[in-house]
Symmetry: C2
Subunit: 196 residues, 2 copies
């Protein structure tokens, strides 16, 4: 990343201070605070960027260690090429939590998995509306978070209900979730909410 890396910690020497100035000059939106650099993001910018690049994802994994046999893993993520690692770190600072880690190869992601933090993310996008159809995924994602708060994911019918909603989301996760639903489709009375 070189000069564009906003992770740079407080430079104490002149050369580093000079680097910070170069960074600020070449990187619009970069702010140098006490030698540290940070990229200012507005709520509207974050909504626009997530409309383009964000993903509300709900995975369901087999896990014999939990009584119901399946673990529901909701996740919010934004994936970028490593050239834009600084934007992922800026998102992390914007929300105040989450992780920046490698997705695969040269792709990195800003990722949030903790339920309490995901609720904050979901609430943010309730106040700041997505413009693309991703808002429908956001709505379904919020529904699943509420179901998990109520313990729906702790019984098999609840997992199936969640899987059915998750499979209706636009995240490319349908085949895997469908396999879970197919296991006991006849007995399932789970229904996705009436959302288009």
């Amino acid at each position: 990343m070189g000069l564009d890396d906003p992770q740079e910690t407080a430079p104490t020497r002149l050369r580093e201070r000079s680097d910070a100035r170069i960074l600020r000059d070449y990187t619009p939106g970069i702010q140098v605070i006490g030698g540290c650099t940070s990229m200012n993001l507005s709520s509207d910018w974050v909504v626009g960027f997530v409309d383009g690049e964000g993903c509300f994802f709900v995975g369901i994994q087999r896990n014999p260690k939990v009584s119901v046999g399946f673990q529901v893993i909701p996740e919010f993520r934004v994936v970028q090429h490593q050239r834009d690692l600084d934007v992922l770190h800026a998102l992390k600072r914007f929300f105040g939590f989450g992780r920046v880690c490698r997705n695969h190869g040269e792709r990195w992601e800003y990722r949030v998995r903790r339920l309490e933090q995901l609720k904050i993310i979901a609430a943010f996008f309730e106040r700041n509306h997505l413009r693309t159809k991703k808002r429908i995924d956001h709505r379904k994602f919020s529904t699943i978070l509420r179901m998990m708060e109520n313990g729906t994911h702790l019984e098999i019918n609840g997992v199936k209900k969640i899987a059915r909603i998750a499979a209706s989301m636009n995240t490319g996760n349908r085949p895997r979730l469908s396999a879970i639903l197919d296991e006991d489709r006849v007995h399932s009375d789970a229904k996705a909410p009436d959302e288009k």
Copy 2:
């Protein structure tokens, strides 16, 4: 949004009112004006969305009808799945020009090609800074627009200079542009500006 949308004005007929309500309910940010619908976009949202989905592209095509033998075609575009056609139309309304047309298959694009309009687009992103490395493409794109204003594209060395800058942009157009540069690489003294 729903009933809270202060932007809504009264549609005149009942059916339109009904359609508008459905649309409004399912589409936060939708504004209903005299039965027509429009989505409000802020500058920051547009910057965030273009950081994710936008493309500053410079194509160069052989064209025996122009004296230099090549035509430089700069283009700004945002491609979306057809499910988000309304967002592309909202971008067109936001800028006040451009076209929404099919890209391929189920993909559609908002596209601007006229030099005067591209200058307005470029100026918008000079006032409203991109946060991703796409800002580098924007800068190179602006440079090429200025070169075209000065007629650089009307002579072969100018075309080569433009091709070299365009080939350094992150638009997947390098092989095609490289072929143009390779034609007469030995005699070319064209240099890309010192931008990383």
